[in-house]
């Protein structure tokens, strides 16, 4: 029951360019040029500090940015090992995510509409939602072997519950008066579903997919690093076991780039798909 409110868990991609209303001419830090100036200075400072810090440390412990850049070039342009590994991981993640969506959205709508179904399934959904899906890795290894399926299963398990929980919450929060209004105009169940329930729960479903998307990527990396040793997680682990720290950083950046792209893409998509919420979603 209590886990239901977890629909609040909205990973916030911020809108850093919303300036406080100021009567004066916008200050340096509120102008586009100023913002980029500060960002570039910060970036250069971080890289410079890192280079200086790493300069007298062992290359096995921390690689300086110049070495990381060199590795990046080798792994992206020369032998393309990063690209190949990332592509494998990302494709699997998408398959798992789509499967999770195909299960979670219809099931969530059904559970939101039917109190019986909700009561029957709620114990498992709640339990599995709060349980860290990592805990399943050892059991899944025994059940499925260390195969493509394991990665898919963990991605699915990671993504399906956030989407499900949010869909249920969304459908349950549909304004009852709207449904009553529809009923009094003798709308059929299907019409109510299509014209009232779905549109008003889309923001919730979307928030769930956004969380599930990120969770799918985490699940993919976890499966690759704890059991499979393939994909970009495997690449990372292999580099670490040979103390090739520069390659480790490249793999981390690869993982990070995918994660950030997912976040960015989903927040764009959300703005585009639910235009009526523009402005009101500001605070999320």
């Amino acid at each position: 029951m209590t886990a239901r409110t977890a629909a609040e868990a909205t990973p916030t991609v911020s809108q850093p360019t919303s300036p406080a209303p100021s009567p004066r001419k916008p200050g340096l830090l509120y102008r586009r040029s100023g913002i980029w100036l500060v960002r570039i200075v910060t970036f250069v400072a971080i890289i410079a500090f890192w280079e200086w810090y790493a300069s007298d440390k062992s290359i096995a412990l921390i690689a300086p940015p110049t070495r990381v850049a060199q590795s990046f070039y080798e792994m992206v342009v020369v032998d393309q090992s990063l690209i190949v590994a990332l592509a494998g991981s990302v494709v699997t993640m998408f398959i798992g995510l789509v499967l999770a969506m195909l299960v979670a959205v219809p099931l969530g709508i059904a559970m939101g509409r039917s109190t019986t179904l909700d009561a029957v399934l709620d114990p498992y959904v709640t339990f599995l939602y709060v349980l860290p899906s990592v805990a399943f890795v050892p059991v899944l290894v025994v059940m499925l072997g260390i195969d493509f399926q394991l990665r898919l299963a963990l991605i699915f398990l990671s993504a399906v519950f956030p989407i499900l929980i949010n869909t249920i919450a969304g459908v349950k929060h549909v304004d009852q008066e709207l449904i009553d209004g529809g009923r009094s105009f003798v709308a059929t169940e299907r019409q109510i579903m299509r014209t009232i329930v779905l549109p008003s729960s889309i923001p919730y479903i979307f928030a769930g997919i956004r969380i599930g998307f990120s969770a799918a990527w985490v699940g993919c990396i976890v499966a690759e690093m704890t059991a499979l040793i393939t994909g970009v997680g495997g690449l990372l682990l292999e580099a670490a076991s040979r103390f090739r720290t520069a390659d480790v950083f490249v793999a981390i950046f690869g993982i990070m780039i995918v994660a950030v792209t997912i976040q960015w893409f989903m927040s764009r998509l959300e703005v585009w798909l639910t235009p009526w919420r523009r402005g009101e979603t500001e605070g999320h």
Binding site: T12, A119, P132, V134, A135, P138, V139
Partner: protein
Amino acid sequence: MGAATTASTVDGTVGGRTIAERVLTRRNGLKIASLLVVFSMWELWGRANPFFASYPTAIAEAASRILFPEVLPAFLTTLWALTVGMVLAIPIGMAFGFGLARFRLLEVALLPYMNAIYATPRIALIPILVLWLGIAFELRVTIVILGAVFPIIINTYSGAKHMDSEMIDTGRAFMASERQLLKTIIIPATAPFVFAGIRIGLGRGVSGVIVAEMTAALTGIGRILISHAKYLQIAEVFVGIMLLGLFSLVLMGGLVRAQRRLTPWDDAERAR
């Protein structure tokens, strides 16, 4: 909400319904029936394929054997790392979050990095952290902090940033001092967001510490899961999983309850 505390009338009635009636609702009846059906199906199927998914009675038997001598001590090890990590992560996260919201320079300079690290799976950092910190207690605490601190930072930041500025203006108009503003407007308005951040952070902390234990540290509940799975002792693995699940349920339920009590002005909906 407060029904449980007022339930101590002589005949045990609350709002005209007896306690029995409150517990034996249709909903709870359905839940219990569903659990009975699923567990007996699991039992039947599990007995036929014992190495695949075990079955409830075997899990109960395993629990009676290893819960107290083995699983609980391991669990306490995990819990200790989790607690230390969270105790450090909450103040750090809140300080950074308020700092980012308050100082525009920090916001412009650092927010992109905060968001990027927030989005990145922390497990990717474990191999490098092993190189830097070894595999002892520090590693697990660091993983908890890294998992928990960014959700707290980002949520505190967005709570403080997107607060209703009219309230602050009103406060100013009534000559509130900075301290009064902070105490009576900013903190209450931000608290639900901070709570949401702590809840997400705690979830990430739990899974982070388990991954660290499974892949590097080999202690705690993570080791229980891994080591029994290695010998195909699936029932024992499920003891660990069940304990972890119950713990997470209690933890999340407790947090939601604490949040309702501490920030009653927030009607659960709003923080979405």
